[in-house]
């Protein structure tokens, strides 16, 4: 299924609700459902903040696709890829929010990619194995 949200922070929680329900229906256990919610929420949060930084008011496009052995969630925005953004820790050694977000994404998903979108922006693709 597909969800398009205005690039506002208020809508990310609605995506979490929908994704939690989809993940549960897809047969994941509660712990994994929670991890999937967190990962998709991180991707949407990055999309909302990066659209904002890029000055884009375009909708964030989220898709959920079920394959036999995995689920693919794609989040499309009009902003910069996390890989193009500063990742240096500050003078006290604290990582920026985005670095923590990418650390969470990498840990919680089975496969992660950031690709440029036609027309500009980033497509974040999260893959969740059904096996594990």
């Amino acid at each position: 299924m597909e969800i398009a949200i205005p690039p506002g922070s208020a809508y990310v929680g609605i995506v979490r609700l929908a994704v939690g329900s989809l993940a549960r229906s897809a047969g994941f256990d509660e712990e994994r459902v929670d991890e999937i919610r967190i990962a998709v929420s991180e991707a949407c949060t990055n999309a909302v903040l990066t659209n904002d930084e890029a000055g884009s008011a375009e909708a964030i496009a989220i898709s959920w696709r079920e394959e036999s052995d995995h689920i693919v969630v794609e989040v499309g925005d009009r902003g910069a890829s996390p890989e193009q953004q500063p990742s240096a820790a500050d003078s006290q050694g604290f990582a920026p929010r985005l670095v923590m977000s990418v650390a969470l994404l990498r840990e919680l998903v089975d496969d992660l990619s950031f690709d440029p979108r036609p027309g500009g922006g980033t497509l974040t693709r999260l893959t969740f194995s059904r096996a594990g």
């Binding site: 922070s9 208020a10 990310v12 929680g13 979490r16 712990e31 929670d34 919610r37 967190i38 929420s41 991180e42 949060t45 909302v48 903040l49 006290q92 604290f94 990582a95 920026p96 929010r97 985005l98 923590m100 977000s101 650390a103 969470l104 840990e107 919680l108």
Partner: protein, 113 residues
């Protein structure tokens, strides 16, 4: 989506009981509350996450920001958290080494400032 924020004093600590989901929408409310506390002179802060159902990188960012602020006044920021799903977020991001994480408010407020 509502974020509950109640502040109380336990000994010399200001305890913030947080209820609900801390995400990109609600994190700014927590940030404001923590800034307010520091600006009022509360430099030893306990953030109680026991009522929190969801925490992500925006919430972590706010906690890190608050930690910097209290440290600038030689203060402390400790957390109360026993929920596995929330602890996991701190572990993955390496922040268990940055924040003192306690299993009760009394333990957090009783510890050294």
């Amino acid at each position: 989506m509502e974020l509950g924020l109640d502040v109380r004093k336990v000994d010399s600590h200001s305890v913030v009981d947080v209820k609900g989901e801390i995400d990109v929408y609600t994190a700014p409310k927590l940030r404001e509350k923590l800034i307010e506390l520091v600006s009022e002179g509360s430099y030893n802060v306990v953030v109680n996450l026991e009522g929190v159902d969801f925490l992500d990188s925006t919430g972590l960012g706010v906690l890190v920001g608050a930690l910097k602020r209290v440290k600038a006044h030689d203060g402390s920021l400790s957390l109360v958290c026993t929920q596995d799903k929330i602890l996991k977020i701190f572990k993955i991001t390496g922040l268990t080494k940055v924040f003192p994480i306690h299993s009760s408010v009394n333990e957090a407020a009783g510890g050294a400032a």
